[in-house]
């Protein structure tokens, strides 16, 4: 209750702030202070709201639907706190919380830069207002009570002492298929409980819990960092709007630059953390699947990076006064960054990608869908409407001709290529909206030439001077990096035996970028370290791409069945499955594999378990991390060796199944003689089956024989078909038969039962470079923020 009130008050404050800031921009003098007060009030209320949600989670208040849906009693503190962003309501709350805090910094920042504050904050508070509407009682309210919309609560989560309550019987339901029982939590039940003096918190004592795949450190930090990146993208949008509101396109460039850089750095880090989680947790051995949800956050990042480069050109060209080049481009790119973030939100939360992505969440309902459409449309109309309105004024700029050999043109081309890359991802990602999908080859084949072009452009742009370079000078400067590039490419290609031309070109292009940047970086280290940002970031990207080439293109995999005690060799590693042991209080099992490589001995322990969350087999890989390669062991299955080797089937009368090419049809049920049953005599019953293949037919009937209460199961054996059919159980009422079909005589003589651990072992060359590259790149972004922050005040 109080949570909803707090958020509603926050919404009110946000609206007031927005109006006040807007009025101040229009010239009303006293409104600025009111705007500031209202904004800080909103931020405080949001923080209180977030604290209340965390409090509800920590105290296991299952009266809140959100707490019930995503947390449970058995979670440790760290994971419990992260359930905050386990579902849509919470992740919107997180986005709102981070945006509010960023707004506090933005307000202070913009207040120190002329009349920037009211314009920027008016737009920013529009964004926070929309987010607050999203978490309001109308839509995705994290404080909604569990009985507001009828919710089926698993009976195991209900206080067992209360199950005998008389009025409860009307609310108990059972699922026809799984036989699980539920209590339907409705407003009526709530009223009945209340009049019996029972609070919902006493009634519901445990929650559904979180998917165990999310109970991982990387999943704890990936959403907050990613959402910080999303929240940061609001800022360039606000700055672009502010510039258009004042019709002044000069100062916003240097003022927004540190924000654009920080946002892109954080967002990039957030995206890669998701990839790291996938690698470490999911077991398929990769970190990027071109999954639509992954892609949707990549698109705004690419646009953001493109904008960094065009903003740089505009900044540089302002040195002689005036607005500078690419004024329109920069406005468009900064508007697009946030709009694409909203589009990403729309794709992931609206349910339109339901059949396309592992990430896609349950359909949120028509109302929320419509609101998301309104949200994104509002900002598209606002941003581009304003742009069209100001187009004439923007076109008054005289575009000076840039020479072909200039850094300006190279950077512009780079931005265009980056946008092309973003368009490719956008098209492939949006395809499911029109019931189409693309294979990952679509992305890989199109991005490959783009990476090559970007690598070459990057190196070239740094060798070129601003405005104009003389051909001769350019050649002289490039001798060192070109030689280093050729040498490196030849060595790597020969050493690794690379024959694929595209790959060689990629290595060539990216090492060219690497060496150009390295040379400059080395020169700068002796001087002003603050200037290192761009070069470090580019070096990071080069390292990242090299890591991608190694791990994505040259990884090797092998499926191995490890018999306990027997050593097998793969990739130069001698592996022996030694046994398994329970971990984490018996919730999971680790399977111990002894590894020996050239005398180096250690254990690698992949994990498997049945999760109580969804009754499914869960698997976690084990990774031996190395600088030049990772050894990746993914558990596939475990066979105790004494289990049935047959195929279990469940048939109703008239149904048939297929086994080893044979059609097995359940013709009829041979009923036991009822009179004999009641008199205690011997009875027989069984499914009458017709087994056929290629015209040959066999009529068989496996039987259950009963004599004086003792039952014996007699399997049917068909020598001609080499089949054996046994009954596991029959339901005489439904006549449904659970059978096991197997081969009568095994092809290979039956060996004594042995434990077998099936794994897939892979070598991932240079995958560490992927993570290291990203970290270096992010570092570069932040060094640049430091440099540009100072410049923004001049």
């Amino acid at each position: 209750m109080i949570g909803s009130i707090v958020l509603s008050l926050a919404l009110l404050s946000s609206l007031i702030a927005m109006v006040m800031f807007f009025l101040n921009y229009r010239g009303y003098k006293n409104t600025l202070n009111y705007g500031r007060i209202a904004y800080h009030a909103m931020a405080m209320l949001v923080i209180v709201g977030a604290a209340l949600l965390w409090h509800a989670i920590l105290t296991h208040s299952y009266e809140y639907k959100y707490v019930y849906d995503y947390s449970s009693n058995d979670l440790s503190l760290g994971f419990l706190l992260s359930t905050f962003w386990g579902g849509q309501e919470g992740s919107f709350m997180l986005w709102l919380l981070l945006s509010s805090i960023i707004g506090i910094v933005l307000q202070s920042y913009s207040s120190k830069r002329g009349d920037l504050e009211p314009r920027v904050m008016a737009v920013f508070t529009l964004a926070t207002t929309f987010l607050l509407v999203m978490v309001s009682p109308m839509f995705k309210n994290p404080f909604a009570f569990i009985w507001a919309d009828p919710t089926f609560v698993d009976i195991k989560n209900v206080n067992s002492a209360m199950l005998s309550l008389p009025f409860l019987q009307n609310f108990i339901y059972s699922d026809g298929q799984t036989k699980q029982q539920f209590v339907k939590m409705t407003a009526d039940l709530h009223a009945s409980l209340a009049s019996a003096g029972i609070s919902v918190n006493q009634f519901i004592v445990n929650g559904k819990g979180l998917n165990p795949q999310l109970l991982n450190f990387w999943m704890q930090i990936h959403p907050p960092i990613l959402f910080t990146g999303f929240s940061m993208s609001t800022v360039p949008f606000a700055f672009a709007m502010a510039a258009m509101m004042k019709n002044d396109y000069r100062d916003w460039v240097k003022q927004s630059f540190p924000w654009v850089l920080a946002g892109a750095g954080i967002l990039g880090l957030g995206i890669m953390l998701g990839g790291y989680w996938a690698y470490e947790m999911l077991g398929w051995g990769g970190y990027w699947a071109w999954d639509p949800v992954e892609n949707s956050s990549l698109i705004p990042w690419i646009i953001g990076v493109a904008s960094v480069h065009t903003l740089l050109v505009q900044r540089k060209s302002q040195s002689k006064g005036g607005v500078g080049k690419f004024a329109k481009t920069n406005l468009i790119l900064c508007l697009l960054t946030y709009i694409l973030v909203l589009y990403a939100t729309f794709l992931t939360r609206s349910g339109v990608l339901g059949d396309a992505s592992v990430h896609s969440f349950v359909d949120p309902g028509m109302l929320v869908y419509l609101f998301l459409v309104i949200f994104i449309s509002a900002f598209i109309l606002l941003g581009f409407g304003m742009l069209i309105y100001r187009w004439k004024d923007l076109s008054k700029n005289i575009e000076t001709e840039e020479s072909l050999l200039s850094r300006e043109l190279a950077l512009f081309t780079a931005a265009v290529v980056l946008c092309a890359s973003a368009i490719i991802v956008f098209v492939g990602t949006s395809a499911p909206l029109v019931s189409h999908a693309v294979e990952t080859t679509f992305y890989n084949e199109m991005q490959l030439p783009i990476v090559i072009i970007i690598g070459l452009l990057n190196g070239l742009s740094l060798l070129l001077k601003w405005k104009h370079s003389k051909g001769k000078d350019l050649l002289k400067k490039s001798v060192l990096p070109i030689s280093a590039t050729l040498l490196f490419t030849i060595i790597v290609s020969v050493f690794a035996g690379i024959t694929n031309l595209m790959v060689i070109l990629m290595i060539l292009a990216i090492s060219f970028s690497l060496f150009v940047n390295l040379e400059i970086a080395v020169k700068i280290i002796r001087g002003n370290m603050k200037m290192l940002g761009a070069y470090v970031a580019h070096i990071g990207i080069a390292v990242l791409v090299l890591g991608i080439i190694g791990s994505a293109i040259y990884s090797q995999e092998q499926d191995i069945d490890l018999i306990k005690g027997q050593t097998k060799e793969a990739f130069g590693y001698k592996m022996t499955f030694t046994g398994w042991s329970p971990i984490e209080n018996g919730k999971k099992y680790e399977f111990n594999i002894h590894m020996n490589k050239g005398g180096d001995e250690y254990f690698i322990n992949p994990v498997m378990y049945i999760a109580s969350y969804n009754n499914s087999l869960m698997r976690e890989p084990a990774i031996k991390v190395g600088l030049t390669k990772d050894l990746y062991i993914s558990p596939v299955g475990y066979d105790e060796g004494n289990g049935e080797t047959g195929k279990p089937v469940s048939l109703a009368v008239g149904q048939n199944i297929e086994y080893e090419g044979y059609q097995i049809q359940y013709e009829s049920f041979d009923r036991p003689d009822v009179t004999k049953m009641t008199s205690g005599g011997d009875i027989e019953m069984g499914p009458k089956l017709v087994v056929s293949k290629d015209g040959k037919t066999y009529n068989v009937e496996p039987k259950i024989k009963g004599s004086m209460g003792n039952f014996t199961y007699v399997p049917a054996e068909i020598k001609g078909a080499n089949l054996k059919i046994e009954i596991k159980k029959i339901d005489p009422t439904s006549e449904k038969a659970d059978l096991v079909v197997s081969k009568l005589v095994e092809d290979t003589p039956k060996a004594p039962p042995k434990e077998v651990l099936s794994i897939q072992a892979s070598i991932k060359p240079f995958i560490s470079l992927v993570w290291i590259g990203v970290l270096i790149m992010v570092l570069g972004f932040f060094v640049s923020v430091g440099r540009r922050l100072k410049e923004s005040l001049i």
Binding site: D175, Q181, V362, E658
Partner: protein, 129 residues
């Protein structure tokens, strides 16, 4: 000025053409009607629900995983996947498989499992204790 736009324009046209071509090459359509799936001769993404009654089979030697999928009209189709059973298959209701229907089976090269919308009203049959 003009030559710059001509140059840029040509590049854009080439780029768009290339993208359109690759899109059609790697394009996969979603298909929820299995009759159509069984007659189509190209890769599709078939959507349906897993027939729990018919269980699933894991063939260790051939390293395949097979099960039955049912579409909205009730048409059933056997699916064989060259790989391991996905992590949350047991609790999955909706499944999307990518592949082609050939020789009586749907040969899947990708499986996407979706957990059921947890007991939201219609899925639960009513009965009293």
């Amino acid at each position: 000025m003009k030559s710059k736009y001509l140059f840029g324009g040509t590049i854009i046209v080439i780029f768009l053409g290339l993208m359109a071509y690759l899109f059609t090459q790697s394009n996969i359509q979603y298909e929820s009607n299995f009759q159509k799936v069984m007659t189509k001769d190209r890769t599709v993404k078939a959507t349906g629900s897993w027939v729990k009654d018919k269980n699933y089979e894991i063939n260790k030697e051939k390293r395949t995983f097979s099960f039955y999928l049912q579409d909205e009209n009730g048409t059933e189709m056997k699916v064989i996947y060259n790989g391991t059973i996905p992590n949350n298959f047991e609790s999955a209701r909706s499944v999307v498989v990518t592949g082609k229907y050939e020789n009586g089976y749907f040969h899947a090269k990708d499986i996407l499992t979706k957990c059921p919308s947890k007991y939201e009203g219609e899925n639960v049959k009513t009965s009293s204790l």
